[in-house]
């Protein structure tokens, strides 16, 4: 009985906790931003804009419906496995102890720094490290075939809605959890070690100030049918919703572009940046002939396991001996790879 209550609480938490992406206030603000964009930029009337935003063809599409199912199932899975996962505090403690062992690293070296500077630095660093690690891991998700087998669950969405953010294979969820734990553990331990007792976080409604800003400025539109574009110069710094839509496009010229979550800087620096285009005519998905068949639970949960395992089995030797991996063009996970 208790587990049902926990599941229910977890589901509700996603919409009521300001640290979560689909917090109800962020969703509401996203709607306002979308309406503003459609009215001012696309010159639609208010009525047309509302009709466009709440288009039932999008929200009740096969793709969106499967997002909702995955959202629910993953909540249950994560609830069961999360107590056994490595946490940020375990990593932070291990790193903190490790710093002690290095004789030239003086604990509390910057302890006299003014408190507001420490807190500002920590808040910013936490955001940047977290965002950069998201970029790196996302890149791996596309570059490594056995990870792509998992990540393509997310890319099999043929319509984007804010709930597509949850369209994630549970194994991929494990990778993301580890990423988050490492990024947070690294930042926390480094700051507490060097700045001693004064480390804190600037928050709004309990969320990191920058995470809050990212969400308030329409993070939910990254996965939506509203292709908001930024000025060209801004798209070098922040990823616009339209830039992320390109990331989901089946067009070959959009492959392996725009991995960034909030900041576009990483894509710019590492050569994966693509400026936005008008996204209304984009086709989203994996680009196979049977994309609409990719929304079944079997395709979303089982097949990724099989493909990932097959790849690892076939390339076991090559991976561990750092040899060139054999390519097999008939396998689906090569669709988005640079050939």
């Amino acid at each position: 009985m208790e587990i049902f209550f926990d599941i229910f609480q977890n589901l509700v938490d996603q919409f009521t906790n300001p640290k979560k992406r689909v917090f109800i206030l962020y969703l509401f603000i996203s709607i306002l931003i979308a309406a503003g964009w459609l009215i001012l930029h696309k010159k639609k009337s208010l009525k047309e804009s509302i009709k466009f935003i709440f288009n039932p063809k999008v929200f009740f599409s096969k793709s969106a419906t499967s997002d909702y199912k995955v959202f629910f199932i993953n909540q249950v899975i994560m609830l069961l496995i999360s107590p056994h996962l490595l946490t940020q505090i375990t990593i932070a403690t291990a790193l903190y102890f490790f710093f002690f062992e290095i004789s030239f690293l003086d604990m509390g070296l910057f302890a006299t720094t003014p408190k507001y500077v420490i807190i500002s630095l920590f808040t910013l660093t936490h955001f940047i490290v977290d965002d950069f690690s998201k970029y790196i891991v996302h890149r791996w998700m596309h570059r490594w075939p056995f990870l792509w087998a998992l990540h393509k669950v997310h890319h099999s969405a043929t319509n984007l809605t804010p709930m597509t953010v949850f369209r994630t294979h549970p194994l991929e969820g494990l990778v993301f959890t580890l990423r988050s734990a490492f990024a947070q553990g690294l930042t926390i331990s480094t700051f507490v070690y060097f700045f001693a007792g004064g480390v804190d976080l600037y928050t709004v409604l309990g969320a990191n100030l920058f995470v809050f800003l990212f969400n308030v400025f329409g993070s939910n539109l990254r996965h939506s049918h509203i292709g908001i574009r930024y000025w060209r110069w801004l798209e070098y710094i922040l990823i616009s919703p339209a830039q992320h839509h390109l990331h989901h496009s089946v067009a070959k010229e959009h492959y392996n572009k725009n991995y960034g979550a909030a900041l576009a800087i990483w894509d710019w620096v590492f050569g994966s940046l693509h400026h936005s285009e008008d996204t209304e005519t984009l086709t989203l998905g994996l680009g196979t002939n049977d994309d609409q068949k990719k929304h079944s639970l079997k395709e979303l949960y089982l097949i990724p396991f099989v493909e990932s395992f097959k790849f690892l089995k076939r390339n076991f030797k090559s991976i561990f001996l750092f040899k060139k991996i054999k390519k097999n063009k008939s396998e689906i996970y090569y669709e988005k790879f640079p050939q």
Binding site: I89, M107, S180, S189, V192, D200, G206
Partner: protein, 463 residues
């Protein structure tokens, strides 16, 4: 107007009556939550005894321990030993002694119980946490002889008062309770419930074994009626009203005072995160009620199994109380190590004195943790290596052994930075191995607080 006056009077009368009844009800409820009296259940007993609860021997040992702690800074080995090994003379109670606003009923040891000692009840196994394979009583004797000439030896960093006190609390009270009375003496055929504990006694084997364990725990008989804060203040001799359960104006050490680990439990519980004192004391009370309910018959397998459930609660939580203490003093020692790095010459003696006290408490509690019912194995080894035989001195030397003449051998085996790291690792070890929750002086709490502020790292989301 008159009507409303009548109403007010009626209300006032009802309120007064309610309070009166509540008072009566409380007086009635007392017996439910107080450890004793319990009636005679022994079949065939024909004496005058009406209350079978008896643990004055344990209280006498608590008082011997408190008095020995008091004397351990006075530099008189014979006097210390009179309390440790027992004395023919009726010795004075040095602690807990009366103070203004907190009069104590007993003045001499024999007012509680005669012929008791601590040495005969000290854990006799090898103490691996101390050099030269000494037994428990040998370690105490060694420390007492050292304390005679130098109770606080700055040259090696040892505060013998803390070492003696904290180790005795483990090696006598904790060990006797969990490794003897609640272990062997709870076995089906040992000290059975259908026979007197000893010839002529009015209590059964199980009744008295259980009471003796309760006595070692150190809670007052009415501790469950008090908050953690009140129990703490009783031990600190600050709250006569809470201590004086029978309202005779004095504190009876035999049942109204809070000793040893029960006091430490209250100190952690008053932080609000734990309830060690209540959990352990209630398990003792429920266990005693269960034994009494057997009505002088041998305990059935079902009843004995239920009783062993209470034993587990007591043993596990008692171990946690000691682990919390290790955690707390590892934190204090760490803070002292940091403070000593930048201390001025003028403040050095005071700061070093604090450091010796904290390390002594840490060492004593860490040794106590290793004399329970179970061998804590690798945890003990890790603990002993990280705590060391003595605190690290400012020249980075520390005690590494004891030579044949009983002199300490000093050497440098690791750095000050390592010593600090060890304290942090000890705190982590206590959390990992014993799941402690009060965590006083938590040196890693900054990271835990930040982690909780950032939120969970669990994420099945594709940004």
């Amino acid at each position: 107007m008159k009507k409303s006056n009548l109403k007010t009077k009626l209300l006032a009368s009802i309120t007064c009556l309610s309070f009166g009844f509540t008072g009566l009800a409380n007086a009635g409820a007392h017996s439910e939550d107080v450890y004793g009296p319990f009636p005679v259940t022994l079949k065939g007993y024909s004496g005058d005894c009406t209350n079978t609860v008896s643990y004055s021997g344990q209280i006498a040992r608590h008082v011997q321990h408190d008095s020995l702690k008091y004397l351990s800074t006075k530099g008189d080995y014979d006097e210390m030993n009179a309390y440790y090994s027992g004395s023919d003379k009726n010795k004075q109670i040095w602690a807990p002694a009366s103070k203004e606003g907190f009069p104590i009923k007993q003045i001499l040891l024999n007012d509680i119980s005669s012929g008791k000692n601590l040495s005969g009840k000290t854990y006799k196994g090898t103490i691996t946490a101390w050099p030269n394979n000494m037994t428990g009583p040998e370690v105490i004797d060694f420390w007492m002889s050292k304390a005679e000439s130098n109770p606080k030896d700055v040259s090696v960093g040892l505060n013998y008062q803390q070492l003696i006190s904290k180790f005795i609390m483990g090696a006598v009270f904790y060990n006797q309770a969990v490794d003897n009375y609640l272990d062997e003496k709870m076995e089906a055929d040992t000290k059975p419930n259908d026979k007197p504990y000893k010839d002529g006694a009015c209590y059964t084997g199980k009744e008295h074994s259980w009471d003796e364990a309760f006595g070692y725990w150190g809670a007052a008989a009415h501790s469950l009626l008090l908050s953690a804060e009140q129990n703490y203040n009783v031990a600190k001799k600050k709250d006569l009203a809470s201590a004086d359960f029978n309202s005779d104006g004095v504190v009876d050490l035999k049942s109204e005072y809070v000793f040893a680990h029960a006091y430490y439990a209250s100190s952690f519980d008053k932080g609000g995160k734990t309830s060690y004192l209540e959990d352990i004391t209630r398990a003792f009370l429920n266990g005693r009620k269960l034994i009494t309910s057997a009505n002088g018959e041998k305990l059935t397998d079902a009843k004995r199994s239920e009783l062993m459930g209470y034993v587990s609660i007591i043993s596990d939580n008692w171990e946690k109380v000691i682990a919390e203490s290790v955690f707390k003093y590892a934190g204090s020692t760490y803070k002292s190590l940091v403070a000593l790095e930048d201390v001025t010459n003028a403040d050095l003696p005071k700061e070093f004195d604090k450091y010796m006290k904290y390390w002594g408490e840490l060492k004593g509690f860490s040794m106590a943790l290793q004399v329970g019912k179970d061998n804590i194995g690798e945890t003990g080894t890790k603990l002993n290596r990280m705590v060391g035989f003595g605190p690290m001195l400012l020249d980075e030397t520390q005690i590494v052994g004891i030579d044949v003449n009983g002199n300490y051998v000093m050497d440098k085996i690791y750095s000050m930075n390592d010593a600090k790291l060890h304290m942090l690792k000890i705190q982590k070890l206590m959390i990992d191995q014993f799941g402690i929750e009060a965590r006083a002086n938590d040196m890693l709490s900054d990271m835990a607080d930040l982690a909780s502020k950032i939120g969970t790292s669990e994420s099945a989301e594709n940004d």
